[in-house]
Structures are given as structure tokens and as C-alpha cells.
């Protein structure tokens, strides 16, 4: 993958076959070009015996590029009153199912958009579109997380209305999406009750980065050995402030509270800027 572009050497694909179209998100790197071929030439360029070694104190964050793309996205969201959430979980915890159920309600009343991250398929975006909400699929190929640059391009295609909700479903992976800021207002970690209460301790970075933990598939609680109290206590050992909500995408339990949380969090961020209606 080309790191300058992030759109890469054919790995990342944003739906409609366009790998790289518009200029959004590149203010962060003015010299952005897609013609970097790492490795060609440079290594052989120095003349033996002529080279003088020197030390450069850099002190630069390895994720600084991603962070500047994320900052650009965050500014864009702020300027347009767009409330963005980044949903993270292991594969199969129920991110898409929860989004579908959430949008069946929230999408009726408010302008909503979804960016779907997945290594290969467009299944998840198709499931979202069935609810009538616009969705865009990003296929990361071998990439195991979404990054700020991909989101910039996705926004360019999706063109969400001012005052909208944008939901980003990250690639199913509890490790690296924690490190890659997308510019979202909050990360939402989803843990299903079939996965065990110890997940927050096993993947502490993710639960440290999230502001909310949704305990999903609570309809299965009678059949599995999962203690909601213990899972909550484990998450709070990592992140004492984390909000914990229990939900079931299957039965609909807890969805009202979750949708209330979304509305309240949005109102906190954009005091006085009402969310845009679905019809507008």
C-alpha cells in the first residue's frame, strides 16, 4: 500500500471501481501524489566512500499521517454538523445487524449514512442499503483496519448532508482499529455475549479508545455463560468512564437506549445544531 496515498497499489477499493477520484482529505499532505514507488532507485544512489553519516532528531509520531487525515475529517464533520461514530468489534459481534436495526428507526427520522469497511465483500453495504440508507463499501483487501485517508475519500463519494449521522463500520478486528483515528466523535466497541467477559482485558487498547461498549446478543444470555456485571467491571478496569449498554439486534432489547445515547451525544457535541431530518 502506498502510504502517501493510502489508496494503495490496488489493495484498497472504494465501491464503484474508483480507486482514487477526488481531492478531499489531502490538505494534510500538499505534495500528495499517487506516483510514489517505494524502493525504486534510492537504495543504489549513494556513492560508496562518499557518504557521510549524519544524525537527524525526528521525534515524529509514526501515525502522524493518519492523524492529520483524521484531523481533516474531524474539521469537515465539525463544519458540517455531522456526527460520526466508528463501530469496532471482532468479526461477527453484530455491527451490521445493530446498524440495520438502528437505521430502521433513526433512518426514518434523520439523515443517516453508512461507510462499511470489509476486507472483501459488499454484503454489509448491501444489507444497509436495504433499509433505504445510503451506504458505501470500502474493501481494504489485506488491510485489517480503516484509516483516516480512506474515510476522507469515502466522504467525498457519499457526500452526507449537513447535520447528518455518519456510521462507520470498521473491519472486524479488535486490535488495530484502536490505533487509527478516523476523525469520529466516538468509537463504539461492540462485544457480543458469546465472546466471553474477558475480552476487554485481552484487547485493552480497543476498550481504552472507546467511549461506549455495547453488549450485544443479550437474547442469548440464558444459553451462554456470560456475566454482564463482570464484563462491565473488566471494561471499567481499562476505561473507568466507559458507557455500557446492553442490546440485542435480534430481539430489539435496549435499542431505544442506544438510540437515545446517540442523540444525546450528538446534542453534547453540537449544542444548538439540530440533526437534519430524513426527508429534508
Amino acid at each position: 500500500m502506498c502510504t502517501v496515498c493510502g489508496c494503495g497499489s490496488g489493495e484498497t477499493r472504494i465501491e464503484d471501481g474508483t480507486k482514487h477520484a477526488l481531492g478531499y482529505g489531502h490538505e494534510a499532505t500538499p505534495d500528495h501524489s499517487h506516483h510514489h514507488h517505494y524502493g525504486a532507485g534510492d537504495a543504489g544512489a549513494s556513492v560508496p566512500g562518499m557518504s557521510q553519516s549524519r544524525l537527524i532528531q525526528l521525534e515524529q509520531d509514526i501515525l502522524s499521517k493518519n492523524n492529520s487525515y483524521a484531523d481533516t475529517n474531524r474539521r469537515y464533520f465539525a463544519e458540517h454538523g455531522i456526527f460520526a461514530l466508528n463501530l469496532v468489534s471482532s468479526p461477527g459481534s453484530g455491527k451490521t445487524s445493530l446498524l440495520v436495526e438502528t437505521l430502521k428507526k433513526l433512518g426514518k427520522t434523520h439523515a443517516c449514512y453508512v461507510i462499511e469497511g470489509d476486507q472483501q465483500t459488499t454484503n454489509d453495504a448491501d444489507r444497509i442499503r436495504e433499509t433505504g440508507v445510503p451506504a458505501l463499501q470500502i474493501n481494504t483487501g489485506k488491510g485489517c483496519h480503516l484509516d483516516g485517508h480512506m474515510i476522507g475519500h469515502a466522504l467525498e463519494r457519499l457526500t452526507p448532508k449537513d447535520g447528518a449521522y455518519v456510521f462507520i463500520e470498521n473491519v472486524g478486528n479488535l486490535v488495530c482499529p484502536a490505533a487509527f483515528d478516523l476523525g469520529e466523535a466516538h468509537k463504539v466497541a461492540i462485544l457480543s455475549v458469546t465472546e466471553g467477559e474477558d475480552k476487554p482485558l485481552k484487547y485493552p487498547d480497543m476498550f481504552a479508545a472507546a467511549d461506549v461498549m455495547l453488549l450485544n446478543k443479550t437474547d442469548l444470555l440464558p444459553y451462554v455463560d456470560f456475566d454482564v456485571e463482570i464484563a462491565t467491571a473488566n471494561a471499567r478496569k481499562i476505561n473507568p468512564e466507559i458507557n455500557v449498554l446492553t442490546v440485542s439486534a435480534q430481539s430489539g432489547d435496549g435499542l431505544e437506549d442506544w438510540i437515545d445515547w446517540i442523540g444525546t451525544a450528538r446534542a453534547k457535541l453540537f449544542a444548538g445544531y439540530a440533526a437534519t431530518d430524513a426527508a429534508e
Binding site: 502510504t3 502517501v4 524502493g39 549524519r54 544524525l55 509514526i62
Partner: protein
């Protein structure tokens, strides 16, 4: 794999610096990788070798400095070394810890020619 894409980020920074600071070869890269950065130094070494092959940093020495993680307890004010994010405060047992150091993931310095 996470470390692989971090190495691509490192290489991207090296190439930017090579252009702006006029060098064509990187002989040594010194990283600071905190124990709470979520990164495995050994995996980073492997990724670095793979990603830099044939580049200006081919064969460069990779030094990884691993600082300690420290946190200050919001309950009792103690600052102490911790091993993991879920460690309690060693003096009062509270989990209200504010991480001070240990999340570093930086390129500290380069030796170039």
C-alpha cells in the same frame, strides 16, 4: 497485520524526510515503542525488514527503545510504573489511572547518509 502497516507508515515518513532533508540512504532508525502502544517490537522488526527491502532503508539497523509505562492515580495521587492498562494503583488499588507514559509510537532519530 497491524505492524506491517505501521512499517509502511515509517517508510512513508523516511521518504518524506529524504526529500526534505536531502539524503538517499537510511543507515539506522531509532524508534520509541511504549508497552501500551499495542505494538509488538518483534513483529515490527519483521515488518520493517520486509517493507524496507529494496528501499532507501534496505538493511538499516532498527533500534527499538522501550520506555516504561507510568500512570498517576486520580484517587490517591500516586505515580507508579504499570505493566498493563488494567493494572490497579499499586498503593490504593483504584482503577482510576491516568496514563502518563507508555503509549509512545515514535521515530526518535535517524542516521542517514
Amino acid at each position: 497485520m497491524h505492524e506491517m502497516s505501521l512499517c509502511e507508515n515509517i517508510l512513508g515518513i523516511l521518504l518524506d524526510e529524504a526529500a526534505s532533508q536531502n539524503f538517499s540512504k537510511v543507515d539506522r532508525v531509532c524508534l520509541e515503542v511504549g508497552p501500551l502502544s499495542g505494538v509488538e517490537p518483534e513483529a515490527l522488526r519483521f515488518g520493517f525488514d520486509v517493507v524496507t527491502r529494496g528501499s532507501l532503508a534496505d538493511g538499516a539497523q532498527l533500534d527499538i527503545f522501550e520506555p516504561q509505562a507510568t500512570a498517576t492515580c486520580a484517587a490517591c495521587g500516586t505515580t507508579a510504573v504499570i505493566q498493563d492498562r488494567f493494572d490497579p494503583c499499586p498503593s490504593c488499588g483504584s482503577h482510576l489511572l491516568q496514563i502518563k507514559t507508555g503509549e509512545e509510537l515514535r521515530i526518535k532519530e535517524l542516521e542517514v547518509s
